[in-house]
């Protein structure tokens, strides 16, 4: 794998070192939060180990993916702001 990987976060290209998780890429891209809760409040990661489900986003069109468990791969498409109607 190359040393840096370019992924897409909400349509914007972001380069990250290989070994970076999709979650870290979202935060590196400067997103203020990862998702909206069912009550509409902004949320970010809590556990970073796959148990809290706070880092859910849409990764390569799969909704509700736990981004802290997914390593970035070239051209990965990541969309945040997942919410009840999103």
């Amino acid at each position: 794998m190359p040393d840096t990987i370019t992924v897409n976060v909400n349509g914007t290209a972001v380069s990250v070192p290989s070994g970076t998780t999709a979650l870290a890429a979202i935060l590196i891209a400067g997103a203020p939060s990862v998702r909206r809760s069912v009550g509409g409040s902004p949320r970010g990661p809590l556990c970073a180990m796959g148990v809290c489900f706070e880092c859910r986003a849409t990764v390569n069109h799969r909704r509700h993916s736990r981004t802290c468990q997914i390593l970035c791969t070239p051209e990965m498409d990541i969309r945040t702001g997942e919410q009840v109607d999103g």
Binding site: V16, G19, A24, L46, C47, M49, C52, H64
Partner: protein, 439 residues
Amino acid sequence: MASRPAHFDVLIIGAGPAGIAAACCASESGARVGLLDNNPQIGGQIWRGESQHPSHIEAREWLQKFASAKIEFLASTEVIDHLEPGRLVVQSVGMQSGDDVRELTYRNLILCTGARELFLPFPGWTLPNVMGAGGLQALVKSGLPIADKKVIVAGTGPLLLAVAAHLREHGAEVRLIAEQAPRHRLARFALSLAFERAKLAQAFAIRRQLSSVPYKTSCWPIRATGEGKLETVFLRTGAHTWQESCDYLACGFHLVPNTELAALIGCELRGGFVQVDDSQRTSIAGVFAAGELTGIGGVEASIGEGQIAGYAATDRSGSTASLLPQKQRLDHFASLLKRTFALRDELRSLPDSETLVCRCEDVKFARIRNHSSWRDSKLHTRCGMGPCQGRICGAATEFLLGWRADSVRPPVFAAPVQVLAIAGSSQSQPDLVSHEEFR
């Protein structure tokens, strides 16, 4: 299922210290050993990212052993379901199709699923950038730049110091470490470490690194505020409360075991931990457990238990005799940990009526607190019904209200519907039914 199930003589779930030790010891017998973890690399929570340049002595030793042993490592693999004794369904984490769902069969199973942090709800704990202590550390290990960020590390347990040191190393400005335990208990803890040269050396090293960081005992966060993300943390010590501005609050109240898979398999639990005998056998034949799952005792204890389990699962219990005295010493350490970092009663009044307890379903404390049990509250408020299935709020309400979130159903982790279909699919086609039979 795509291919025939892979069979292992010994299958180990979780590649932290316990799982690595279990795998290494089991492989000595020549048995076919499989080790799987939902992370891309071995190491678990503590040795995460150490495979390249291990910094702990034990880590280096065991990672080397692992590298030269004959063990099949299944990375980024998550157990979704237990079909029946000897059969598990796993999938690749973040899988994009049904192709990477697999059945694994085993003769003996060793559960080393470790622990997660205990998170306690307080006003503002759901703001972005309020994270677990281990959580922020893991996030930094997985690529989050932290240089020059102001961080407060809070909660309880030896993890706080390790986290603070790690964050400093990566350039963070750690403004405060707030430990809820009182100074006198910590002093006693430090004193008993004096007999453990390795632990003491570690502790000194960490303290040296953190010499300029304020360390307050009997101190804990009571509120976090900010517009859209964390800006200010309010803390308390004694009757004194004050505020600190910061970018991150890394806050964890020690650890709770990940018992979901063990519970689904039917292993007996006591006091929230998996019950094991001297050979790490659970109440279910052919199923062993080692590490934090059986009690929070730290790395050494986990390694010791992993070794015992690895030998016992390959019918070489004889090899474990030399490990038993060490195990007893470490059991002592575990109970010391428990006493030292016992949570103070005041923390039970951290949440106010409006504080969300269930973060998946946004359920407020006021809605749940008058229910009679976990299940009563869950059925009537949705607390614990979200995708985390009570992993966070269940542990919190256990502390806050004395409930036990004990009901585990498949899938162990949320998984695509097809995973559950593939899991039992060797059967015949469904019958069609009369229309009054539909429900």
